[in-house]
């Protein structure tokens, strides 16, 4: 039996420690992992728990991230609770196996500490890795701060392991800004944390020796489509209601409330910034200042990136006159991913909103309050004109001549 750890009601943890503590409290059976900045401390902390008797599952340090996820897949198919962590280049190396994990319907939890992808090599936070995962069939939850990183891990296990879902889930947090910034984190006791998620309930487990199973079959044009369609069906119909239920249960237990789409002063907002991660907090601060200056400003934070909360977001944005989609990843040849998603969300609705796209913060560059003030200024001009007065895609915080597109 693993030892309990006495936690204070509020611990000073960074996002990495928050995620590691959640993995410890749900008593993961197998963690197979490989270190990479900035997610390394998750793995190190877990190794420390393992070395000191706070976890009694297996801790497998593999030779690569691809090997880590491959071991996770084998372990999950064998029938138990499985988790790992990675970032950036490691995430990219895992990509092949991410599709395997979701296609095989294995509820693995992957903590992704978001980081840019080279070249040029860069260790700081942006959302390139997160976006790279978006077609991989995983659930993607987004933490804005260490508290979220802790809480959303419990949500992720609860939803992913549900037998109506059986899909893997990523919990994202911003590299350094969240992962290495210590804040007060409200904790659960080990008992509370574990029982929120509960004992792992195996299904089609290879280790049930009386019921052999075949995992990872071949399908061609005869059956491949049906398999992928069933996976998509589960993502589109089962997952969001399950996440909502988990959020509700979690609020009952802890008082902390999460929403599929996080909104800040959106009830009467005329202009809105939509963003992810740590930028949400900055945007909210600026939004409050803009409100004080008389602008009916709001902020929308994406909490669930996959499956995309299309209906919920359309509802939230229905009366807005101008929307800015903030993307922290280079779209390399098109509009940003959030811009695309929001455009897809608003098309075929009554909306008259003007939608513009801002690319920011690549490779860890700061998003400042001044940047956001400029964006709100653009939004006001667009809302007043009822049409775009600025280019569709602009960079913010970029050195040198102004680059903009469309």
């Amino acid at each position: 039996m693993a030892d309990n750890m006495e936690l204070r009601d509020i611990e000073v943890w960074d996002g990495n420690m928050a995620a590691s503590q959640a993995l410890r409290q749900v008593q993961v059976d197998v963690v197979a992992a490989y270190p990479i900045t900035p997610s390394t401390p998750i793995v190190e902390n877990y190794g420390n728990f393992s070395a000191n008797g706070y976890v009694d599952g297996e801790f497998v340090m593999t030779e690569s991230e691809h090997g880590a996820m491959s071991c996770c897949i084998g372990a999950s198919a064998a029938g138990g609770r499985v988790a790992t962590a990675t970032s950036s280049q490691g995430f990219a190396l895992m990509v092949e196996t991410l599709y395997s994990a979701s296609g095989m319907r294995l509820p693995i939890i992957l903590n992704v500490v978001n980081r840019a992808i080279g070249a040029p090599l860069n260790v700081n936070g942006d959302h390139s890795d997160m976006y790279m995962g978006r077609d991989s069939g995983w659930i993607q939850l987004d933490a804005y701060c260490p508290q979220d990183a802790y809480d959303l891990n419990f949500i992720a296990f609860k939803v992913a392991e549900d037998h109506d879902v059986r899909l893997p889930a990523m919990v994202h947090q911003d590299g350094f800004m969240t992962s290495h910034t210590a804040q007060g984190v409200h904790t659960m006791t080990d008992e509370q944390g574990f029982s929120f998620v509960g004992e792992f309930q195996p299904m089609n487990d290879m280790l049930d020796l009386d019921h052999p199973v075949t995992h990872g079959v071949q399908t061609e044009e005869d059956w491949h489509f049906e398999h992928k369609a069933r996976q998509q069906h589960a993502l589109m119909t089962a997952v969001l209601p399950k996440i909502q239920t988990a959020f509700d249960d979690f609020e009952k237990l802890t008082g902390r409330k999460y929403n599929l789409v996080e909104t800040y002063n959106m009830e009467d907002a005329e202009v809105a910034v939509v963003c992810l991660g740590t930028s949400v907090e900055t945007a909210v601060e600026v939004m409050n200042e803009m409100r004080a200056a008389g602008l009916k400003a709001g902020v929308v934070g994406i909490r669930v990136f996959r499956p995309w909360p299309l209906e919920q977001l359309a509802e939230v944005l229905k009366n807005v006159k101008a929307v800015a989609a903030l993307d922290r990843s280079s779209p390399h040849g098109t509009v940003g991913a959030l811009y695309n998603e929001i455009a897809g969300t608003l098309f075929n609705t009554e909306t008259k909103a003007v939608l513009t796209n801002y690319i920011y913060g690549l490779g860890g560059r700061d998003l400042t309050k001044a940047h956001l003030k400029t964006i709100y200024g653009d939004l006001k001009a667009n809302a007043d004109a009822g049409k775009p007065t600025t280019p569709l895609q602009q960079y913010i915080g970029l050195r040198g001549p102004k680059l903009s597109f469309f």
């Binding site: 059976d29 197998v30 197979a32 009694d56 599952g57 297996e58 497998v60 340090m61 593999t62 030779e63 690569s64 691809h66 090997g67 491959s70 071991c71 996770c72 897949i73 084998g74 372990a75 999950s76 198919a77 064998a78 029938g79 138990g80 499985v82 092949e96 196996t97 395997s100 095989m104 487990d205 290879m206 280790l207 049930d208 020796l209 009386d210 052999p212 199973v213 075949t214 995992h215 990872g216 079959v217 071949q218 399908t219 059956w223 398999h227």
Partner: protein, 318 residues
């Protein structure tokens, strides 16, 4: 430790409970299926199996069918080893936590991979698994070619073999590099047991598989697997082809215990000339021309030298 299965004779062996069904899509005469059956039938213990992408995988688990009557997993081309290692880690975790459904049964963990999956693309994963010491057996189905994708070279392809990516032609005799010495590499990991086996020398093979199952830690088995399609011989000659390989010493049968103790386990009474082995297969047909004939003599010298080296190592016990 579980009991070692007693196998009296070939008849009993070939008719013992079969966890790999004859209903599969492998070519008639494919040695992969013979090897797999011999491995599985060497034990009565429960089995958790993995396969890497390749002929074995695409021919035995085509939805909605499966040829496997034991738990089996496939992820990709390079990671069959890690799939089984992950399952083995989960077994340990659940055993430790008292959550195994059949706590008194200890399954064996076995991964199968082709030479492409083993010598080439999957090498890093296998090396990782062996270094970490998972209690598993890795069996390479060595047909010296990427058969599943139509016969491209691998680092197991021997000199002079014609493959689709190193074809013989007017100015080339085909493969230029000699086969990688995978057994030495795996032994160098300090694995408790590594061995080369041939499905036609079934007693030798079963003894080695059983030794491998009895060993604690990662075990590597390299099995010669003549491929009727890519080696170009008649499907009914598969066993004859394995005999030619072992009796010409092109594929010597030996084992290495704990990385150092090398034992030759089969010494042919009549050593067959390498020429006979090469001549039986279409992939070497072009060597029997004036232009490339010198390669046959080089082959013979290479095989003789290697046999001498193995004997020296056996004698030296290092």
């Amino acid at each position: 430790m579980s009991e070692i299965k007693k196998i009296k004779n070939l008849k009993e062996f070939s008719t013992s409970a079969d966890r790999f069904e004859g209903a599969n899509l492998l070519c008639p005469g494919c040695a992969h299926s013979i090897i797999v059956r011999e491995v599985l039938n060497a034990t009565n213990d429960d089995l958790i199996l993995a396969a890497s992408t390749g002929c074995l995988e695409v021919c035995t688990a085509v939805y909605p069918y499966t040829s496997w009557d034991a738990s089996w997993i496939h992820i990709g081309f390079e990671n069959g080893s890690s799939a089984v290692a992950g399952a083995e880690a989960m077994y340990k975790a659940l055993k430790n936590k008292g959550r195994l459904k059949q706590p008194d049964r200890k399954p064996k963990f076995v991964a199968f991979g082709g030479d492409g999956a083993t010598y080439d693309i999957g090498f890093q994963w296998i090396s990782g698994c062996f270094e970490r010491g998972h209690d598993m057996m890795y069996v390479c189905l060595d047909n010296e070619v990427y058969a599943n994708t139509g016969g491209q070279r691998s680092s197991s392809t021997p000199i002079g073999s014609s493959t689709t990516t190193a074809p013989a032609g007017r100015t080339s005799y085909g493969e230029k590099k000699n086969k990688k010495d995978m057994l030495a590499i795996m032994a160098a990991h300090g694995a408790p047991y590594v061995a080369q086996v041939s499905p036609s020398k079934w007693k030798d093979m079963v003894a080695k598989i059983q030794k491998g199952f009895a060993a604690e830690g990662p075990v590597f088995i390299n099995a010669i697997s003549p491929c009727t399609t890519e080696w170009k011989f008649a499907p009914e000659d598969t066993i004859a082809m394995t005999d030619l390989a072992t009796d010409s010493l092109v594929f010597p049968l030996y084992e290495i215990i704990n990385g150092t103790e090398l034992n030759i386990t089969y010494r042919p009474k009549n050593i067959v000339p390498v020429r006979d082995y090469l001549g039986a297969q279409g992939r070497f047909k072009h060597l029997f021309t004036k232009q490339y004939e010198y390669l046959i003599d080089e082959w013979q010298v290479r095989v003789d030298n290697e046999w001498a080296r193995l004997q020296r190592r056996e004698e030296a016990r290092v």
